[in-house]
Structures are given as C-alpha cells and as structure tokens.
C-alpha cells in the first residue's frame, strides 16, 4: 500500500506559517509546528482556538489561505492524494454509515484505500479484535453505543496502516469509564502500530495520560510546545486559589507582597503560583483581613496540565462547553430521518 519514505524526512508533520482565514476571521495564524515520528502529540485549546481548522488542513479537507505543511514528507497543497493515503482520521463528529454493519463500514473504507479484499478481510478481523468489537462486527451501526462507534472509527482509521493518525476530540461526549477504556485502546494501538498520533482535546487528563508532547493553542496561535512534564515543571511550586467576593481589589492588595508576581484573576477567583505555598498562605490571609477583604476559601494544589493551560491562555478549559456542542450534534441526529 504504502512504501515511499523520503530520505530527508525528519518530521512526521512540519508546518510552515500555515494560515487560514474565513473572511475577516483569522482562524489559524501562521502555525509553525514540528512533530517527530512516533510521538503522541496533543493540540490543546479552548473552543474556536483553531484546533479543528489546523487538523482539517493537514488532512487536506480544507485548503490553507497561505503557508503550507508537510505530512509524512508530502506537501498538503500539491500532493493531497499522497497525504490522504498516508494518514488516518477519526473526526470530532461521527462519520460512519449507521445503516451498514461495522464490518461493511470497514470493508467500504478498505476499498476506498485500495486494500485488496483478502488482505482487508484479515486486517478487519485483526483490528476489530483489538478494539473488542469482533462479536458485534455484523450488527448494524444503529445498535452500537457511542463508545463502540468511537472504537470502530478508531479501528477504521488504522485499517490502511497510516503513518500518522489524527484524532479530533476522540472521547468527546463519552462517559468517564468509556473514556478510560478508549484511552487504553489508543495507547495500545499507537504502541503496536508504531505510528504518530495527533490528537486534539478539551480534556487535560486525556492529554496528560496520552501525550508525549503537547502544544497549547489559543486564538489561532500556538503559545508553547513541550512535554507535559516540562510544562508542569516550569510552573514551579504550587497553585493557590483564593475565592473572594472582591477578586480585583484583592489582586491589587496582593501586589504589596514580594512573592506574588505570578497572580491573576481567572473566572472570579484569584490564582497565584508560589513556591512553599504552605508558609505563604498565612501571610496572604493576614493581608486580606488587614485590608478588610473577606475570603471564602483558600486552596493549595500541585500544578496540573490544567494550570499550565490557564497560565498560557488565561482561560479555563471547559469540558462542558465541548459537551454542549456534542449535545447540539445529538439533537440534529435525533431530529433527522
């Protein structure tokens, strides 16, 4: 199916000032990204940050306004056919035919990607076994649960042995248990097939669990790229969250202290990055009572990827937002037919 490997290809994906404009809106602003083969790369960002725009251009569904990218060494503008053959995609929205059975969906995919029928039959069985759907292979998709559909799409995305697999919000709208289950499948599949995975997600724990490297994107721009461990380590110390009725006033007063240069108001609470937070919290509380500002609560925690995200985007990433979007899709689905 797929043999050509360019000698000079160092990156699985390399973008060059990749830009997309919809009318006046700049959806993606000259993205420069390098992703090494074998990585599980996570693209994190709030809604409308440009994640899906970036992915759809890399998959050649959408054409860039300017700039370009190499996927597996192929130019997305000039070699769309070769790019397509070398990648697998699991879209954010379901993309299976629900009148067909799981196996029929897989077989159609195999034909579209030029896999001969005998090879396809073996490989379909193998992959359906891997994602635990072999018993349900011949049931119509209508009878599949959300998690099963996702698994089938995952298996389908790998059917033509792509070297890069795109997962756009792979666990959106799934319950926590199904999500865990899907994560182990993704990990196992990525390890066994030794491919590069690019995933976008709203869920920080998903990125922490799966990704060897993450890029944080906001308003069409990439803010930083590093490993989750490095990003969390860079925050140093602890995160202190203070809830109060007057966050802005309190933030103003905090500037009097020497150790509070990393403080900001996020969604009505004051957040500080401190080292030795246990010792400094009493000082903060004292300051508040001296200023006559009532504190509702003070909490200390070790930084997570979520704090990293907040630090770079100033926004709380909201899983609910994504789920609301999902519900919108589900409404359309139930209204249809």
């Amino acid at each position: 199916m797929y043999t050509a490997i360019t000698m000079k290809q160092v990156y699985a994906i390399e973008t060059f000032a990749l830009t997309k404009r919809y009318g006046k809106i700049l959806a993606l602003d000259s993205l420069d990204l390098k992703i090494r083969p074998g990585e599980i790369f996570g693209l994190l960002g709030p809604n409308g940050a440009g994640k899906t725009t970036a992915i759809s251009m890399l998959c050649t569904v959408n054409s860039p306004t300017s700039g370009t990218a190499l996927v597996n060494g192929f130019d997305i503008r000039r070699q769309a056919g070769k790019v397509r053959r070398s990648i697998g995609i699991v879209f954010q929205d379901p993309s299976i035919d629900d009148r067909l059975t799981g196996r029929e969906n897989m077989m159609l995919h195999a034909t579209l990607y030029d896999i001969s029928a005998p090879v396809a039959r073996t490989r379909i069985n193998e992959l359906l076994g891997l994602v635990g759907l072999i018993d349900r292979a011949d049931s119509p998709m209508k009878t599949y649960s959300g998690g099963m559909r996702r698994r089938l799409e995952l298996a389908r995305g790998l059917l033509h042995s792509p070297r890069v697999l795109f997962l756009d919000e792979p666990t959106l709208g799934l319950d926590p248990q199904t999500r865990q289950h899907l994560w182990s499948h993704i990990e196992e599949l990525a390890r066994k097939s030794n491919i590069t995975v690019i995933l976008t997600t709203h869920y920080m724990e998903e990125a922490e669990r799966l990704c060897s490297s993450v890029g944080i994107i906001d308003s069409g721009r990439i803010k930083i790229v590093d490993t989750p461990a490095n990003l969390i380590g860079a925050l140093q110390g602890d995160v202190v969250t203070v809830a109060t009725a007057k966050p802005d006033d309190f933030l103003e007063r905090l500037k009097e202290l020497s150790f509070t240069h990393q403080a900001e108001v996020v969604d009505g609470t004051v957040r500080l990055h401190l080292s030795d937070a246990e010792k400094k919290v009493p000082v903060i509380v004292e300051l508040a009572s001296a200023a006559g500002i009532e504190l509702k609560s003070v909490s200390i925690h070790k930084p997570t990827l979520n704090d990293v995200f907040l630090y770079y985007t100033g926004k709380e990433i909201r899983a609910e937002e994504a789920e609301n979007e999902m519900r919108k899709v589900m409404r359309v689905v139930s209204r249809g037919r």
Binding site: I96, D97, D98, R99, L108, L112, Y113, D114
Partner: protein, 250 residues
Amino acid sequence: MSELRKIGALWYREVLRYWREKSRIVSSLILPVLWLLVFGSGMRNVQLPGVDNYQTFIFPGILGMTLLFTSVWSGVSIIWDREFGFLKEIMVAPVSRTAIVVGKALGSGTSALVQGFILLPLSMLIGIRLDPQSILLLIPIMILLAVGLVCVGLLIASLMNSMEGFNFIMSLVIMPMFFTSGALFPISAAPGWLQVFSYFNPLTYGVDLLRWATSRGTATALPVYAETIILMGFAAAMIAACSYTFSVKK
C-alpha cells in the same frame, strides 16, 4: 481500474441502504398508484387530441414522475451524509470526486430503476401490454434519466444547508419539471408559452421516450435518436457539474 472498484463500493453502499429501508420503498409507491388508478380513472373520459386512452397515456408519465421523485430525493439525501458526517469519510479518502459522484448517481439510479420496475406490472391493471422488447427499451431510458436526475438532486443539495429547504425545492424545481414534461397531457395541446418551458425541460424527452417505448408507434416530438442524445448530454453535463461542485473546497 481501482477507481472502478471504488465506484462499485460506493454503488453497493447505496443499494444496501435502499434495501434496508423497505418502508421507503413501499411508501414511495403510493403516490404513483394514486395518480394512475385514482386520477387516471377519474379522467378516463376526458378528450385530449392524440390521446385514445388516458390511463395508457399517463402511465409512462407516472413512470417518469417516479424516476424524478426518487432520483432527486436520493440525490438530495446526500445532505444526510453531510449532516451525519459520513460524507467526510468519503471526502478524505483517496478517491476522485468524479468517482464519488458517479458512485452516488449509479447507486441512487439503481434504486430509482427498481422503483420504476415495481411499477411495470401495474401497467397490466390498466390494460397496457408490455412485450419484452418494450421492457428492453425502457431500461436504458430509465437509467439515463435517473442518472441525470440524481445529479440534479446532488446539485440542489450542494446549494442547501439543511433538509428544511426541501419543500421549497419541491415546489420550485421538481413540480414544475413534472407538470411541464408532458406526463399528464400532450404538450402539443398546451399553449405556446408552456411548450417553450417543456422543450427546455430534459424530463420532457425522457417521458416522450418512455411513452414511445411503452406503446410503440407513438410519434415522438423529436426523432428518437435526437431525444436519446439530449438525455445522454443531460446526464453527462450533470455528472460534470456535480464533479466540479464536489471538487471545490470550502
């Protein structure tokens, strides 16, 4: 060669979907039966120039109508594929846009054809006798017509954002095509301004050929070969237009 295999796979998907939606097969037969048996019987004694038996006259017209409705509907149904995401799976696959359009057109054309065939036995109820030769002639005419009309549906779908606009399309495109095609009355009996519309309507030639094939010996508006060429041109032009529309990225 591989494109042919892909067209085959896309065709097979359409056929499977059609086959699994049996309620649609039955429900889409109700309308033609009503036209033929109720409308046709009621109008039996109406005198129209060049029409001996009204039911015999409208049978090919109703056949054409069935092809029109089923084909355009299947074409428009690609909106479902778009809304439910399946279209994306096809659009990112290494398949040419033409293959996607041809696969869809052939698949939907097949369901329209089956729908047409189910109607053929009805002809006996109203006293038309179809000899094997007539049936052999009907098949290619029905295929040509269905392929062109599916693409009309696909083109309409590319202009629509949701299924909500379908009623509008129904009254703006489909019904006018049906009424001006000579399915229900001979075009020669219509006033001049209406005839102009009819001659621009590809369905007119489809119905005319279907009529020529069912009761052979009926005079056609243009020579048979000319009408066949018009239908072929119509189908080819529609496939080309659809392939173009599909290859334009948003």
